[in-house]
């Protein structure tokens, strides 16, 4: 009989952030602000503050001009300045080329046509990688931690750009780390600086246990981002500064789900639907009293309704969406019309009195969701009285108009539902909802001619950047092509920032020059849409590392044909209208395409 292989159950700190945090360093950090004043008794023995410092932080030593964080990058850590100083580059910020990003330049018409004969004969051919640097920047490896891009002429940059200085004790990057949003500014080291980098897990645990720290982070978010976030929300756009300030003050921050949702998703994707649904944290449940308007600040959430013993997904919402407005408007109108409202939140439903409307559907976190909860009382006091009758009518239908179950029920023999429930479940189940350019193929129209693949290859030096193969639902397939996600987890952890969002379109692209082939992005992508390729020179010979002789590998994926004059070649090349790149946040467009 073969003995079973046993391993120790993996634990939180099996893989510390850095192996260099010895006891001396930990004690030194604990003696610094803000850790010095934290009550260590608030941390359990299994999750001590010293343990967090030891396992969830690392010391980063920057040299003059090192770029600590880049504007637009996704980060999973915050920084505390231990010594020295750093500069935050204020808008308009540094150019993409200075940040080590590939300039997005479209090919001209002749250059595009020339691809027919200029494309290399061998796959994945690259120009030999020399010490090619981008405008004003270069890269260097630090003491075993990471490669860093640095700015060569710091004084010139400081002269040409407005900056704010952060010194010892200042923290930055915590909003992007906790809120899973892009870095809003570039931070560069001004002279040698020592920083403490805290990964989000440690940040989360400290925030959970130290009120001052939580208040500090919340205050920073309130000061720096919340007002602008609210003003970008349609129903708050017309409010004056005082009202916005009041809402900012009253808003609650809530976080649901796992920040590393991609690993959880990969772990659980083969489980049964009910088990996976049960593991999704419930933000609000169907039938609850709507005690606040929920604004999704980051991540995705499933809106579902109970059907007997199950839950049917009726739609999904993502960043910028609101939930619960219809019920709040309904109840506010009810209060206005029911003079004899007893004040305890529930009418008796008799004698013409309209009952309080509880939430019509549940909201569950799909992975990681960051929620802003604006109390109902604040909405009723500051927002609803200022809305026009048309706006109120629109918002009161917000949740229900998209409720496809209702639509199906009411349209007897009429139009089919916008998106068939099975398709909706399929998209949510496999997290395809994350895509802003998800490739969908209608197999009933697709004649398998591979014109899409050929066109993609022609646009990328004869290397197709996607695989016409993927999961199917009914007669639709989602091939393995980069979806240019709203929440691109592939960006997290890229040591050189080679994979980044392009500007202004926001497509996720890879700068081939700065990609070091570490596979972090490919391993992070939950959809297997990034491939690692071994690159060759013009003669078809593999390019190798001069030291190890190992082949040089690069991450490769769809770039939406950013440099091509006509946009995505795959979509344009399909003669049978079988292929479309779909923004999954645009349910109307998706529904129209599915119901052609």
């Amino acid at each position: 009989m073969v003995d079973a292989v046993t391993i120790q159950r993996p634990r939180r700190w099996d893989a510390p952030f850095s192996g260099d945090m010895n006891n001396v360093e930990v004690e030194r950090i604990l003696a610094l602000d803000p850790f010095r004043e934290m009550d260590r008794d608030r941390f359990p023995a299994t999750l001590s503050l010293a343990g967090i410092i030891s396992n969830d932080t690392r010391i980063v030593r920057c040299l003059d001009g090192d770029i600590v964080v880049r504007e637009g990058d996704y980060g999973n850590s915050a920084f505390l300045v231990i010594s020295g100083r750093v500069r935050v580059v204020l808008p308009p910020g540094l150019s993409d080329s200075m940040l080590g990003r590939a300039p997005s330049q479209k090919k001209g018409l002749l250059q595009a046509v020339a691809q027919l004969w200029r494309n290399p004969l061998y796959p994945e051919v690259r120009d030999t990688y020399t010490a090619e640097e981008t405008e004003g920047t270069a890269s260097r490896a630090d003491d075993g931690q990471q490669s860093r891009i640095f700015i060569q002429d710091v004084p010139a940059v400081l002269n040409e750009h407005r900056t704010a200085t952060l010194t010892t004790g200042d923290m930055f990057g915590e909003i992007a780390a906790l809120g899973r949003t892009q870095r809003t500014a570039t931070v560069i080291s001004d002279g040698p600086a020592e920083l403490l980098e805290i990964r989000w897990q440690g940040l989360r645990d400290i925030r959970r246990r130290v009120d001052d720290f939580r208040r500090h982070v919340d205050r920073l978010y309130r000061e720096r981002s919340l007002a602008s976030h609210l003003q970008a929300t349609p129903m708050f756009r017309h409010l004056n500064d005082d009202a916005i300030a009041r809402i900012v003050k009253e808003t609650l921050f809530e976080t649901y789900g796992d920040f590393d949702w991609n690993t959880q998703y990969l772990r659980e994707r083969d489980e049964s639907f009910n088990r996976r649904l049960a593991s999704e944290p419930v933000i609000v449940a169907e039938g609850d009293y709507p005690d606040g308007l929920l604004l999704v600040r980051a991540g995705f959430a499933r809106v579902s309704q109970a059907i007997n013993n199950g839950h049917q997904t009726i739609r999904y919402i993502g960043r910028g969406a609101v939930f619960g407005m219809a019920e709040i408007v309904h109840n506010w109108r009810r209060d206005a019309s029911n003079g004899d409202y007893d004040g305890n939140g529930v009418g008796n439903g008799e004698g013409g009195i309209v009952q309080t409307k509880t939430l019509q559907s549940s909201l569950r976190a799909l992975g990681y969701v960051d929620i802003l909860r604006v109390p109902t009382a604040v909405i009723e006091e500051l927002v609803l009285p200022t809305l026009s009758a048309e706006a109120l009518a629109e918002y009161s239908q917000l949740d229900e108009s998209l409720d496809q179950t209702d639509e199906t029920d009411t349209n007897e023999g009429g139009e089919p539902p916008l998106i068939e429930p099975g398709m909706l479940e399929f998209l949510v189940e496999h997290r395809y909802i994350n895509g802003t350019s998800t490739m969908l193929v209608d197999l009933d129209r697709c004649v398998r001619c591979d014109d899409c693949v050929v066109a993609c290859a022609r646009a990328h030096d004869n290397n197709p950047r996607f695989n016409r193969h993927g999961r199917r639902h009914d007669h639709y397939m989602v091939p393995n092509a980069c979806m240019h996600c709203m929440d691109p987890v592939c960006l997290i952890g890229c040591p050189t920032g080679a994979i980044h969002r392009s500007s202004p379109g926001g497509e996720v692209v890879i700068n081939d020059t700065t990609c070091i082939g570490c596979r972090t992005c490919a391993n992070s992508c939950p959809y297997d849409n990034i491939r690692m390729v071994e690159v060759r020179d013009g003669n078809g010979v593999f390019i190798r590392d001069t030291v190890t002789n190992a082949p040089i590998v690069k991450a490769s994926k769809c770039d939406l044909c950013l440099d091509q004059p006509g946009g995505p070649a795959c979509e344009r090349a399909c003669p049978h209208d079988a292929l479309k790149r779909v923004d999954m946040q645009d349910l109307t467009d998706l529904g129209k395409w599915l119901n052609r």
Binding site: Q115, L443, R448, A455, R458, R572, H576, A578
Partner: protein, 272 residues
């Protein structure tokens, strides 16, 4: 726009254009001109325009509109070309040898185009409904792997059971079946007759097997089913591509013959 609406719109515009064309030819005729010259040049222009579609497919990197919109033009302009052709030959068979060959090529091109369109719409759906997604060029390789598995299974059966029932059945009935894609015509007709017949033979054979042999027969049946699915995919995917091997060469031949026809018409005085 839904496909149905698009079909109605494009069909209506084509009908309108066809009616205008008939009216124009009639007016031309009434005015004592020769409509054959008008329709001849028009036909050549339309055929050349239709040929541009293939060029557009090659130039996928140039923003010349989507291939899908080009295909729509190709389809409806192609239908209009049939009308122009009928007007050109005055709704009767041409009498010259060259003209008859030319007409034959035109009919081949148009016919293969219409059949190709039908195949594209129907067979794509058939493929989706039944078979798994597999690349056509890989099917022979997968069949070869299946054959190797089947042969290994049969050999194992002979060694382990000491019986020749399963190997005999394989030798007489399945060896050729696993050798290459089979029953293609039946698959193209959507018929499962051959598959059912083979399954029945396999079932009949099982009457004479013991439990151990039955296990091997069942494994063999799974391989037969898998091979059947691959044959189906091979038949359908081959047909989705094969019609182009008629349509494209016939088109280029048609253009060459049309140019020859043009030269002859002008050379021998009919074009004055």
């Amino acid at each position: 726009m839904t496909f149905a609406k698009r079909r109605w719109r494009n069909g209506f515009v084509t009908l309108l254009a066809g009616a205008g064309l008939v009216a124009w030819c009639t007016a031309y005729d009434v005015a004592l001109y020769q409509p054959a010259f008008l329709t001849g040049w028009l036909l050549l222009a339309v055929v050349l325009m239709l040929t541009l579609y293939n060029g557009r497919k090659k130039l996928s990197m140039v923003p010349l509109g989507t291939a899908a919109s080009w295909l729509q033009w190709h389809i409806y302009l192609g239908l209009l070309a049939v009308l122009v052709f009928a007007l050109h030959i005055e709704w009767s068979l041409p009498n010259g040898i060259l003209e008859q060959i030319l007409a034959l090529f035109f009919v081949t091109v148009s016919g293969s185009g219409i059949i190709g369109l039908y195949i594209s719409r129907i067979y794509a759906r058939m493929l989706t409904r039944r078979s798994e997604e597999v690349v056509l060029e890989r099917i022979p390789q997968i069949i070869s792997q299946l054959r190797a598995q089947a042969e290994a299974l049969v050999l194992e059966s002979a060694v382990e059971t000491g019986s020749s029932s399963v190997p005999d059945f394989y030798g007489s009935r399945l060896a050729s079946y696993f050798a290459a894609p089979r029953n293609l015509r039946m698959h193209l007709r959507g018929s499962r007759g051959a598959s059912i017949a083979l399954a029945t033979e396999l079932q009949n054979m099982t009457r004479y097997l013991n439990d151990q042999e039955l296990g091997y027969a069942e494994k063999l049946r799974v391989l037969v089913d898998r091979k059947d699915e691959l044959d189906y995919a091979y038949a359908i995917q081959s047909m989705l591509k094969a019609w182009l091997f008629v349509h494209l060469p016939a088109t280029y031949s048609l253009i060459l013959l049309a140019l020859l026809h043009l030269v002859l018409v002008y050379s021998f005085g009919g074009a004055r």
